[in-house]
């Protein structure tokens, strides 16, 4: 026989009745009310245990008892044979007890934590990029164009100024650029633009709509026209591999998944929880750089250009003033964003 202290509420009044519940094998007796009541245990519902917070024991007449004595309730439930309980309620209780068991043992929790972290990491690192690639492949190229439209105009209003590169130089590059992009899917509407931009320094940017911007700084840094061509090939690689769209998909999936997992949506703390994922974004963009480099490398090989030109301009770019590093934004890909790996990138082109 087990006795549990609790507060009885009849379900009609907020009046609190301190009572004692006396459990035997098949029945519960409620002591302390004006009249003595008893119920068969199969009709009684035991709420799940949650930490050490009070929980309720519900009776079939709509009354309920709130008790702090969680251990005693667990003991009652453990002693009950499943025949004394309804089958649905015993299944529910079993599940609740498993949960509480897991929640109260540190080594189980550590295991769960480890598996959870591994799954989240694997998901973000491997599943999301592949899924984003597949999804991008299923979307028409017009989606990329929508992402990039209007970006050039807003850049022109802020960080970009008219170019000072001579018409002759530009014309030669425009011609070579037209040839380069002639073999690519015409759905990408390629366009080459030259701009002066003191704040961005030596740089080239690919917008998802196929507009590629070369800064005067980059033109001045280059010592051979093929160096600029190599850079253009890299930027075309960003567009053809649809990095702008894939990046947008990846970041929206990650930023949606965080609140779903953590359970709250609108708090500063949840926003902060999104910050570690920013670290992953850096990894994503390095993957994109590698892909674009590979595109450039293939292009140069197939057009009998020396891959060294790419290595040379990369070398000079990385030697340049680092504080002119531009902010990489979601849809703009520029050169210097992957600095830590520049040496590795250079080596790939030198090996040829």
């Amino acid at each position: 026989m087990i006795e549990i202290r609790g507060d009885y509420y009849d379900g009609h009044q907020s009046l609190r009745h301190p009572v004692v519940l006396r459990f035997d094998e098949s029945r519960v007796q409620i002591l302390g009310l004006e009249t003595e009541i008893s119920f068969a245990l199969s009709e009684v519902n035991f709420a799940d245990r949650l930490g050490d917070l009070p929980r309720s024991i519900d009776f079939p007449d709509g009354a309920s008892c709130e008790t702090h004595d969680n251990d005693a309730v667990d003991q009652v439930v453990a002693q009950l044979t499943s025949s004394a309980l309804g089958s649905a309620s015993s299944k529910k209780l079993f599940f609740g007890r498993v949960l509480h068991l897991v929640e109260s043992r540190w080594h189980y929790l550590a295991l769960l934590l480890l598996i959870t972290a591994a799954v989240v990491f694997g998901f973000v690192r491997y599943v999301v990029p592949v899924a984003a690639k597949d999804l991008a492949a299923a979307l028409p190229v017009s989606t990329d164009r929508k992402l990039g439209d209007g970006l050039l105009e807003s850049l022109d209003g802020t960080v970009m100024q008219p170019t000072k590169i001579t018409q002759a130089k530009r014309n030669r590059l425009h011609q070579r650029f037209a040839k380069m992009t002639a073999q690519v899917d015409p759905a990408f509407k390629f366009r080459l633009e030259f701009r002066a931009s003191p704040s961005m320094g030596a740089n080239a940017i690919a917008l998802p709509n196929g507009t590629i911007i070369v800064t005067d700084g980059l033109m001045q840094l280059s010592r051979h026209e093929d160096e600029v061509i190599a850079v253009l090939a890299h930027e075309i690689g960003h567009v053809v591999h649809r990095h702008g769209l894939r990046h947008a998909i990846q970041s929206s999936v990650v930023s949606l998944a965080v609140p779903l997992l953590t359970g709250d949506i609108f708090s500063v703390a949840t926003l902060a929880a999104g910050l570690p994922t920013a670290l992953l974004e850096a990894k994503y963009s390095r993957d994109f750089e590698t892909e674009a480099d590979q595109y450039a490398l293939n292009f140069m090989r197939s057009h009998q250009l020396n891959p060294r030109h790419f290595a040379n301009i990369l070398q000079r770019l990385s030697a340049g003033p680092e504080d002119e590093k531009p902010e990489p934004t979601a849809r703009v890909f520029s050169y210097l964003e992957s600095h830590p790996e520049t040496q590795i990138r250079i080596v790939r082109f030198l090996r040829e």
């Binding site: 009849d10 379900g11 949650l50 929640e103 934590l113 997992l261 703390a269 910050l275 570690p276």
Partner: protein, 347 residues
């Protein structure tokens, strides 16, 4: 900011018994099972989480409780996911169809708000007596569609009034047992609160913005490390200042809203203060970042404790005999499919 009045003997403070470590354990199990079931368990996780927070909230030796059936929440979520899928599929076919569907769903938003709120309150109990919600779809349409349109037409001048009407709708239309809550609208007080709050916010933007802007300009002129650090420090200070003003606005609106609410002779008083809320927000965010999100459960508990324990309930005749319900308690279980698109609105 309302200065806390001395507590009177018939005033009872809400107590929060939640524990960060316990909540962390529940959080880990929830996250794990949600992952392993590809999100299906999220409905159970939500109930378990709310149940923990409600049971941890104690008023006059009795706790609140939450009884929602996870299956019903799951059904709502499945419908929401299907709708979202149809919506994105339509986007590939035709933009007109997509806009049409968005408008169609918008028409149902007031109904969803009412149902979500009703589901939530009917599954909430105190001393084994259920809450309920009596708002109508028309009321929701006015508070969530009509008034905001009017507010935007008046360049936001109506905004404090809209916030008040929403609170009146969400809180004033609720009940516990047979006892209706009432929301005593105080339009003047809402306008005063918003005026002060927005003034603080504007001041923070001007002071913080000019400090940050000035220091960045200076750092750009003379490129030294010391000036760069100063610029970063000034920018951080400006952001903190803006967050402080924003917290002040939130705190004063919450305090005012709860002071308007009563249930028969029972009145409420919320004594949230700006600086503690500001500190909790900042330090929680820092800890969450540096713990790679593991601190989140403690952060939630800390915030919940402060918010809940700042509420005082004044019940001149005590709570023992105040609340009654003629409803048959066992039939109070609602049959609503709720929270489509996560539409529940919390306090």
């Amino acid at each position: 900011m309302a200065t806390p009045l001395p507590s009177t003997p018939d005033e009872i403070r809400l107590q929060f018994n939640g524990d960060g470590l316990d909540y962390f354990k529940i959080w880990i199990a929830n996250t794990f099972l949600t992952l392993m079931t590809l999100g299906v368990y999220s409905a159970w996780a939500k109930v378990r989480k709310l149940r923990y927070l409600y049971r941890a909230t104690e008023l006059a030796n009795a706790s609140f409780d939450y009884h929602a059936d996870p299956i019903k929440i799951l059904k709502g979520r499945i419908v929401a996911v299907i709708l979202l899928g149809v919506y994105s599929a339509l986007g590939m076919v035709s933009e007109f169809a997509q806009i049409g569907m968005a408008l169609l769903v918008m028409v149902f938003v007031p109904m969803l708000i009412v149902r979500g709120r009703r589901f939530h309150l009917r599954n909430t109990s105190y001393r084994h007596i259920r809450f309920d919600f009596h708002g109508t779809t028309a009321g929701a349409a006015a508070a969530y569609v009509g008034l905001p349109i009017l507010a935007s037409m008046t360049l936001g001048l109506l905004y404090p009034y809209v916030v008040m009407q929403r609170a009146k709708f969400l809180l004033g239309q609720s009940s516990i047992g047979d006892n209706r809550f009432a929301f005593a609208a105080r339009t003047g007080a809402f306008y005063r609160t918003y005026f002060l709050g927005l003034f603080a916010l504007a001041a923070a933007f001007v002071i913080g913005g000019s400090m940050a802007g000035g220091s960045i300009y200076w750092a750009e002129q003379e490129e030294t490390d010391a000036l760069a650090i100063l610029a970063i420090a000034c920018t951080a200070f400006a952001l903190a200042l803006i967050y402080l003003a924003w917290t002040y606005l939130q705190v004063s609106v919450t305090n005012l809203t709860l002071s308007c609410l009563r249930c028969g002779e029972i009145t409420l008083r919320s004594t949230l203060r700006t600086l503690p809320m500001f500190w909790i927000g900042i330090s929680n965010a820092m800890m969450v970042i540096f713990s790679f999100s593991l601190y989140l459960p403690w952060a939630s508990i800390r915030l919940a404790r402060y918010r809940i324990e700042s509420i005082y309930v004044r019940a001149p005749q005590g709570l023992d005999a105040m609340i009654s319900s003629t409803q048959d308690p066992s039939s109070a279980v609602s049959e609503e499919i709720s929270e489509l698109i996560g539409m529940e609105v919390g306090l």
